[in-house]
Symmetry: C2
Subunit: 316 residues, 2 copies
């Protein structure tokens, strides 16, 4: 049976919330999956987060085929956007679909539309990390879960949003079709390319941050802001309101690297940048990166880079 | 100085090629980066890969501020799309910008527009893995690089496309502003959430595939298609046209896991699915997943899952 997928967008839609999962599902169809994708809205034309306009939108369907999948993209300014009559029309329409044999999914703040239409009552769900409290207010009986890419409660699937909309779409493809098709779509999307361990273009500033733990992000933000600072574990722990031992455990588990090794990696990244300036002596580079001495700098450098700082400077 | 960013789109633009990096840069501006984003096209309104129409597009600028950044999104059907007069108008316009103090970037097949406008002559560059040969034909003197997320040649930056457009945008933010801002934007995009090592929703079918090596993908595709098969290393190596020892080295380096462990992981994922069917005996589950016996199944299972298959079945 053909899977009928409907993306529902409202004025000021966050374009990536829509385009990410929509393109992913379209590619699955292009490769041969038996599905259709339709983009619907309460009005034929609407504004987007990017300032450009989307038009040629289908109306909200009067009837839905059994097993239809409705996906609600999020918005850029949800408090304002969801008070507009077009968003209220979507909420009413969605509320009227309750009890039907359909499946409903949300990207990012799209969860707020589901909440207001009563679809999240007593269900586990999630949304973007900045909107968790707002979702709790909108659906007081929902079990709002933090730290999740998405939550699959069978009839209702909610995602953390923006780029996770793509992960959600791949998951739905795997569920409705099979894992190999999902892998082929991921490859076409060049999702493989993201932050691979051997990627020469991988930014050290973004490495080890593909987790969702807020405490670990807080500490990583502080180190990123000032990698040359001689942070003590106690200072970092205090900043994150946890004990030093707990921080060590959380950091290693979620970032997949130790605190000291993480900071060293950023210091080496900064050193690479500074070495490009020929007026800086090796001692000055070492100092500006927070190493105790040029010798200490060379020792740490050797653990990360094949050639010496001097050779690196001469050849880059 | 304000960074002026122009996204250039052509009819049938791949919506995610545009929306991914555009939203990423818009968020940087929203957080406070001194940049502007304008979406331009040779016509005020055009079709997209998703069937919907983009309108309210700015014309191709007559003049560009110094240091402007032009980003060319890719298309869904480049052979057809780039033969259209609108695409030819973009190529002419871009050719006329040569020698100016601007920077040019491409997502996916956008590299073909750069090639035809003469911007890739004698430069290192890349594009989507399906378009490498076409790019070589379009720019015979270019040094087309495979297996790269993006290639930064200073004035010209080319990316592998689709989701890597987001990585490219984060890299540009880091370059033009700073690493902390790029990390904050990544967090807002929930890019942290992608395939984290501790993510309970992570699909084992997509794990270990965030690399770009075609030989390793080929072998992973084969194992994914039939994880229960008793593949020998020699069979897999033959299928990928490499020697068994070379395959072992490539697989471990790029997938970050051994061939046998990779297959076991997929078999355990399949076993989890099969255990949901109470009519299947443990022996039958083991057999269907390619284990030599129920005992062998339990041994491998214990390395991946905390509870036993029996307890798992009873509680899931």
């Amino acid at each position: 049976m053909t899977l009928a997928v409907y993306f529902i967008v409202t004025p000021n839609v966050l374009l990536l919330d829509y385009a990410g999962p929509a393109e992913t599902l379209r590619m699955a169809a292009d490769i041969g999956a038996d599905l259709t994708v339709t983009t619907c809205a309460p009005v034929p034309e609407l504004s987007t987060s990017m300032g450009v306009t989307l038009s040629g939108l289908a109306p909200l369907p009067d009837t839905l085929p059994d097993g239809a999948l409705l996906i609600f993209a999020g918005n850029a300014q949800e408090a304002l956007d969801y008070a507009r009559p077009e968003a209220l029309a979507v909420i009413d329409w969605l509320a009227a679909q309750r009890g039907r044999d359909i499946r409903v999914a949300s990207i990012c703040s799209g969860a707020l539309l589901l909440a207001r239409a009563g679809w999240l009552d007593a269900r586990p769900c999630t949304t973007h990390h900045a909107l968790l409290d707002l979702l709790r207010q909108s659906a007081p009986t929902a079990r709002v879960m933090e730290n999740r890419v998405f939550v699959d409660d069978g009839q209702v699937v909610t995602s953390a949003g923006i780029t996770t909309g793509i992960d959600l779409a791949l998951y739905l493809i795997e569920q409705h079709f099979d894992a190999e098709l999902a892998a082929r779509v991921a490859r076409r999307l060049v999702m493989y390319a993201r932050r691979g361990p051997n990627d020469p273009q991988l930014s050290p500033w973004l490495a080890h941050r593909n987790h969702l733990h807020p405490v670990v992000h807080k500490v990583q933000d502080a180190i990123t802001r000032d990698p040359a600072r001689r942070w003590t574990l106690e200072e970092l722990a205090e900043l994150a309101h946890v004990g030093p031992r707990h921080l060590t455990r959380l950091f290693t588990r979620h970032a997949g690297i130790g605190v000291v090794a993480y900071q060293q990696q950023l210091r080496i990244a900064r050193a690479r940048q500074l070495l490009a300036d020929p007026s800086l002596s090796m001692e000055r580079v070492a100092e500006q990166c927070g190493f105790a001495s040029a010798r200490d700098f060379r020792r740490v450098w050797a653990m990360h880079v094949d050639d010496s700082p001097r050779t690196h400077r001469a050849t880059h």
